[in-house]
């Protein structure tokens, strides 16, 4: 006697063993034995308890089996491109191409079912417990200032386009002004954010040590400190010298230079707080002592110094911190508990940043609707670059999972920020400015990145593991091959034509082939 596994009424969730195939009629036996793996079979029979000793407590249906009476092959399955088992490795491209097969895996079933349940709990909390109103806002809108990454949708009117907004940003505000005091929506977002495990280890501190090196003779520190926003930052890996060897530190240094075009100065401290650094002799005794005091350096610590423009130096140190954590964990040091959920609020962001290509002009650190910190409003008219914003980010295990802000509800202030400070064309936003003038209440909100949150909850390495039909890194649907060519006659109603780049003859040919076939 042997068994064949097929799925019953509820595929995936209730696999049921079918027994007694050997005892069934020959026709039933033939159907069940000859059906390829993953075929769809309808059986009728009697549910019976499994023979004593053959129960499987690990299966939800492990106590029963079916004595099959009749069987019908509803759909036969072709030879699969890969086995549907979680431990079978397959490339991401293959998984995306055959997404409907990949979705049958235990992992994808669990992730998407959990996602549905989590969103449902969120809805119950917001709607049923707190009286929030779920309102759908349009996805065909108009291009907004700064919306460079918005998709365009040609309309049937010559030269006129809709855009697909990156978020319901303006509509949220208009709903507040429209008297819906508690609104929420599960809105779409297609930003492909890669799969870096952006978790922060817990063992380090960053402090500003620029003053220590004000009179340094070390070249790249000197360079950095001579610039207006220049700074020297350090990170301390306590006890790091016990695990990180010279070649580890060299790989960290290479990482910084390759990825950020920035130098790192590693300092090893061995017993008796001796310096061990390529530039040790360039550090003065006075600097050394001040440094040890500021960083609270202990024996066997490793210090990494980086210098440069303030934000870049901080950003690099953050990355180095994760690199060190990864290295130490590979060597068996227990640093991070993946089962732990550590939340962090980030506040007091600057409202504006100098424009990267023209640092004398300002751009919004987040978006132009964020309200300034109440105690900084006067600075808007004198030193706007010093104004803090009422923006807040929510971080979970080192990943930003949400952000939001209190918005400007005063039309005059909003106009000043847009026109005077940001030099934006206010005409494009006249509807919002007008709306603020008609009794807009003070308001604010937050948006959670559901994909990233689900990644953290399920421990998935990529957001593509928590989305049913994700696009590839290049924005392709590898299953249906979207985006795809469109014959010129389909473009006519939209009054557009393709401007072929000079070197794309091959692409044009492939379009023609496609049309003619």
């Amino acid at each position: 006697m042997w068994r064949v596994a097929f799925f019953s009424l509820r595929p995936r969730s209730h696999l049921v063993w079918m027994d007694s195939v050997q005892k069934s009629a020959a026709s039933v036996k033939k159907i069940l034995c000859e059906a390829p793996v993953e075929s769809v079979v309808q059986v009728s029979g009697t549910v019976v308890a499994r023979p004593p000793g053959q129960e499987n407590p690990k299966m939800p249906t492990g106590e029963i089996e079916i004595k099959v009476k009749t069987a019908e092959l509803l759909n036969s399955c072709k030879k699969l491109p890969f086995e549907i088992k979680d431990f079978v490795k397959k490339t991401e491209a293959l998984r995306l191409q055959y997404r409907y097969l990949d979705l049958r895996s235990f992992q994808m079933q669990r992730n998407l079912r959990l996602r549905s349940q989590m969103v449902m709990r969120m809805r119950e909390y917001l709607c049923n417990l707190h009286g929030f109103i779920d309102i759908e806002t349009p996805t065909l809108f108009k291009k907004t200032p700064g919306g460079a990454k918005e998709f365009l949708v040609p309309s049937r009117e010559p030269g006129k386009f809709y855009s697909l907004p990156q978020s319901p940003q303006q509509f949220k505000q208009l709903l507040m002004i429209g008297g819906f005091d508690r609104y929420f929506q599960v809105a779409r977002c297609y930003r492909d954010e890669g799969s870096r495990p952006d978790r922060q280890p817990e063992f380090t501190q960053i402090i500003d040590i620029s003053n220590v090196f004000r009179n340094t003779e070390i070249g790249f520190l000197q360079d950095a400190l001579s610039k207006p926003q220049g700074t020297v930052k350090a990170i301390c890996v306590p006890g790091g010298a016990k695990y990180l060897k010279r070649k580890d530190i060299e790989s960290i240094r290479k990482f910084a230079v390759d990825h950020f075009n920035q130098e790192v100065l590693p300092v090893f401290l061995k017993t008796s707080i001796n310096w061990n650094s390529p530039v040790a002799e360039l550090i003065m005794e006075e600097q050394r002592l001040e440094f040890i005091r500021l960083m609270q350096v202990q024996e066997d610590d490793v210090i990494l110094l980086t210098a440069g423009e303030h934000q870049k130096a901080c950003s690099l140190l953050g990355k180095l911190r994760l690199e060190c954590a990864d290295l130490l964990e590979k060597k068996g040091v227990v640093l991070r508990d993946p089962a732990l959920f550590s939340f962090l609020w980030v506040v007091d962001f600057p409202l504006f940043l100098p424009k990267e290509d023209n640092p004398r002009e300002l751009e919004s650190a987040h978006h132009p609707f964020t309200a300034p910190h109440p105690s900084d409003i006067h600075l808007l008219y004198t030193e706007p670059e010093k104004v803090r914003s009422q923006h807040y980010d929510l971080v979970l295990n080192g990943s930003e999972i949400g952000g939001g802000s209190i918005r400007i509800h005063n039309a005059e202030l909003q106009h000043y920020v847009l026109a005077t400070l940001l030099k934006e064309d206010v005409k494009l936003l006249s509807h919002l400015l007008q709306a603020l003038d008609y009794g807009a209440p003070p308001h604010g909100g937050i948006a959670l990145g559901l994909d990233r949150l689900m990644c953290l909850v399920t421990g998935s390495p990529s957001i593509r593991d928590v989305i049913a039909f994700p696009k590839s890194f290049r924005g392709h649907d590898l299953m249906s091959s979207a985006p795809d060519c469109v014959p010129p006659e389909d473009l006519k109603p939209y009054h557009i034509q393709v401007s072929w780049p000079a070197d794309s003859e091959s692409e044009k040919n492939s379009l023609n082939l496609h049309q003619e076939s």
Copy 2:
């Protein structure tokens, strides 16, 4: 003593009267008395019971009032373009332009709050009670065969476009194949379906009476019956002659000719079943008797005859029926109970229809994925035009509120329908055909038109009354003026340019003006 109404913490839902303004400090009095209507004011004070006799049982907060201690004007309101009162008539264009003000009306607040609650109850029913999984499917997809009304979204690859699918049709099927046996989604739909109250009255019957007029001498009936799909259909308005005068019937006739380019032959029946019709003398006695028998005509009935191609004649009669009902209701006849919810399933649709521009070829009556009726499958290979489909529509009070179908789960059958019967390019659907080959279970579903359902539930005349930010009939957002012009440099990354029609110089100028301003 007098009162001023402002809203408190929960605008719209909890208007609270503020009392004792006269007794407040002069500064408070000044703020409250000078704030324009619909301004936002923050007050602190004491909640007290209203004086005996001054309670208002019609208000949720009618038993209390606030003794104001301090007041602050948070945002002043400009002069409104219209009063925010439900009984103040305003044009739809004005309502859409100032949508954020229109949303404050009692009606829009009630409609959108009810919509949110209804969707929540649906979710609870599907998710919590029946184990359905809520899965979001992409809105950036590829153009599908027959998807002529799909918006295009240019990508950054020359000549390649995404499309915005009209429904998650294919993804639903792929999820079934992917092992999600119970899926649902609240999906987007922007089809502007106008605001005709498409309700069916209950007092009429349509039957086919072509045979009665086989040998008629009436020109337009003769014409219709000489054509392959020609038919004569009649509708009986019982007792209609008591209310409908000649000029009413004339207006119905005009309606048919103007809107459908089709003739209508009205027949009045007075006492003793006398004919009263412009062509009475052309109807033979034999026809008359057979007609009266078939239609079960009574005294004072009005009969409307229409002739033409089968589907057009039926469609016109449906409209005439509604026109008559509207006319009779205007004259005080009680026909339809707006509080009643009458549901109806429509089944046994044909799977294919002859193409309008080439009747020898077939097109799908719904879409090419609908499964044929099991007992008609053999006809697919001999007389496909006779095959009934497994499509079903759900009708509420005469309006179609939903529809769905059992889908084809067999790849071979799907290929035959697409390639042989519909002459579609199967390459565009190769991913779906392939998916069906990998163990697709039999499956089907239904989609409800939430907008139309909400219209019926709230008794709203237009779907624009149950959508927060609707587009106008022409697809415009009158508030933000989307779609809008886009400067040519924004089109460059998408490798498209506008093909200006020859006569649109004025439009080009307006674009240029826009760019330069």
